[in-house]
Amino acid sequence: MSAFVAVMRRDLLLALRRKTEVLTGVFFFVVVASLFPLAIGPEMKILRLVAPGILWVGALLASMLALGRLFEADYRDGTLEQMALSPHGLGGLVMAKILAHWLLSGLPLVCLAPVLGLQFDLAPEALGILTLTLLMGTPILSCVGAIGAALTLGVRGGGVLLSLLVLPLFVPVLVFGAGAVEAQAGGLGAQAHLSILMAMLLPAAFFSPWACTVALRIALE
């Protein structure tokens, strides 16, 4: 447990000392979500219609921006070797890293979404659902993305490969995340979409550290 906390603390502390890396993703999300209303024009109906999709795509791309860095620095400076040699097992420590990664790259987006959603004239209920789907969806992006990051570790041109690898896996999250807001607006209720998101989150969170561990051990060989 102390090792779990130490790894998470170290990652959060590092992010605090080099803020630009975290702010890049957040800034990207804000810019994307703010430029669309300006480009589309003050047509409220259209804005309300496209809002969930735009905010979700923005969040997805913003969280992808941070993925490449998840294990890269640790791999290069030998920290990953020390983690692999920890008697606590690599799996728990990887889980700590994923959690820290989500706190830094996912949670800020969730917090910003209701504010940015106002630009699209979204109703309070729709804003609530949108935030909830992001709260459930961004951890899936972090968990699944971490597997991709671990698999492409140390590969030249890994960034492109990582995108190719994880984007298809992100699509269902995008579909059900953005779809929930639409379903709510259409009077169907978002319950089904939220259940499916949760059904994706649980196995992703459970299997991701294990899959990452296997991939990281191969990368370290």
């Binding site: 130490a6 070797e81 040699l85 008697p87 060989e221």
Partner: protein, 210 residues
């Protein structure tokens, strides 16, 4: 250090990289209170051998035994006795020496109070620099920060890859003392070095050849 006598046995190890055989039939024993200096030319596979011993890379042939049992079977027990210092120093430039040392101890599963960490850093001649971010320290000072791990832990098997690199003459002698003391207290040291720095106490050199 520990109740039962600890032994490391390397049994007929072979390593291949790509289709090239780096070394084969490497065997040696290391018991509590002994050191082993691994010698060899560049590219002969010293680092690969150390990584296999630690369990980071798989052996192509042969096995590594800890206390008579295969390391893979007793991985967690073995790791709690092991301290590995490789080419990557596992240090974060943005963190201070103290923060680095404490995070590292937690990952390695060792309790380390701030006072103990400060003492270990002071022994490495880093007194007064404990709270500076590592990026403002010199290369040698960074290495000393990594070496402070030796004094900050209670691992019995130290596996060190080129520990004397980038250290000044005084620091080399200080490190030699630390390693010799560890051996005298019943620890084990397995290290590579191009400089002829023999430790005190019982031990021998092993020359790795193709």
């Amino acid at each position: 250090m520990s109740a039962q006598p600890l032994t490391l046995r390397v049994d007929k190890l072979a390593c291949e990289r790509g289709h090239r055989r780096l070394f084969s039939n490497v065997s040696f024993d290391l018991s509590a209170g002994q050191w082993l200096h691994l010698e060899g030319d560049n590219g002969v596979g010293k680092t690969s051998l150390l990584r296999i011993v630690c369990g980071l890379s798989p052996a192509h042939e042969g096995q590594v035994l800890w206390g008579g049992r295969a390391v893979r079977e007793v991985a967690n027990e073995f790791r709690s006795h092991l301290l590995y210092l490789g080419h990557g120093l596992s240090l974060k430039e943005e963190l201070s020496a103290l923060e680095n040392l404490q995070a590292d101890a937690a990952v390695a599963g060792r309790a380390l109070s701030a006072a103990q960490a400060m003492a270990a850093l002071a022994q490495q001649g880093l007194k007064g620099r404990e709270h500076l971010p590592l990026r403002v320290l010199s290369q040698g000072q960074k290495r000393r920060t990594a070496l402070a791990r030796l004094q900050a832990g209670n691992a019995s098997l130290w596996v060190l890859d080129e520990p004397f690199v980038a250290l000044d003459a005084r620091a080399v002698e200080a490190l030699r003392q630390v390693l010799s003391q560890h051996v005298a207290q019943g620890g084990m040291v397995l290290y590579t070095s191009h400089q002829p720095v023999p430790l005190d106490g019982s031990g021998h050199a092993y020359r790795l050849q193709r």
